[in-house]
């Protein structure tokens, strides 16, 4: 019962703040609502027993990425409102229609009966020699997923160099 109350409260906050992020006129307010949204998503991760991911969510998203967004919003000081000019060929109602079609499709997929996996899959992680969420994730990252982990570090390095070159004064 307590879990259900927590889930519905967190879900309502996540969706409400997400709507505010998309609809707010002021970009700075939008970024701040995005921080709140990420914090509630982190709370949802705690509810699901993924404490390591919750910490990463707060550190990387709410701490890192959002600060990057705030910097860009403040560097880009606009002399005219960003949404003043609208392309006459833009078809917003088609965007809405396509989004609703996506939601209907996803809801049909989500509410279908699903077959519970064979117990062999569930037993695979029970055989890990460690206990605790962080240890489990770390064990998998440094054994089975070592090469993807290294490739992700290369991706971050390349992205960092690319961002520096793009943001240089003379491009």
């Amino acid at each position: 019962m307590g879990e259900a109350i927590a889930f519905y409260f967190i879900a309502a906050c996540i969706l409400g703040f997400a709507v505010l992020v998309v609809t707010t006129k002021d970009t700075v307010h939008s970024v701040l609502f995005l921080v709140l949204d990420f914090l509630f998503v982190a709370a949802l991760y705690v509810l699901l027993g993924a404490q390591f991911l919750a910490a990463i969510q707060i550190l990387v998203y709410a701490g890192g990425i959002v600060v990057l967004y705030l910097f860009v919003v403040m560097l880009v000081n606009l002399k005219r409102p960003p949404e003043a000019h609208s392309d006459p060929r833009r078809k917003t109602q088609w965007g809405f229609a396509l989004s609703v079609a996506v939601l209907v499709e996803l809801a049909i997929v989500a509410t279908r009966e699903y077959v519970r996996p064979a117990p062999a899959l569930a037993a695979a992680s029970a055989a890990l020699p460690v206990t605790g969420n962080t240890e489990e994730v770390g064990w998998l990252l440094y054994t089975s997923y070592l090469i993807p982990f290294e490739i992700a570090s290369m991706l971050l390095l390349v992205a960092m160099i690319g961002a520096i070159i793009l943001a240089k004064r003379e491009l």
Binding site: A4, A18, V21, V60, W94, L98, L121, L155, L156
Partner: protein, 100 residues
């Protein structure tokens, strides 16, 4: 009782809010934030199934998704800054240099 279906519906709704943001807004910074919302919806799905199956592999994938999201935000915001220097706008309807 909260089943994976609840988490999937929450994830689908968050995904749709992100898709509407991408489709409807013209401020490119808001479009990037909508993409972050979409990636968060994906992560919620991965972690819900990770908890359901008692298998931490889903959480490993979520870590990779977060790494890619960080790279995407850095490069995307660099592109926004470079574009703003050239054209003094962040309206996506005015970004038509490469339109055929």
């Amino acid at each position: 009782m909260i089943t994976p279906t609840h988490y999937m519906l929450l994830s689908a709704a968050l995904f749709m809010i992100g898709v509407i943001g991408v489709m409807v807004r013209r401020n490119i910074i808001i479009i990037f934030m909508s993409i972050e919302l979409i990636l968060n919806a994906v992560n919620i799905n991965l972690i819900a199934f990770s908890a359901e199956l008692h298998n931490a592999i889903g959480q490993v994938f979520a870590v990779f998704v977060i790494a890619v999201a960080a790279a995407e935000a850095a490069v995307g915001l660099g592109i926004i800054l470079a574009f703003y220097r050239n054209k003094e706008t962040i309206n996506i309807d005015e970004m038509n240099l490469m339109r055929w």
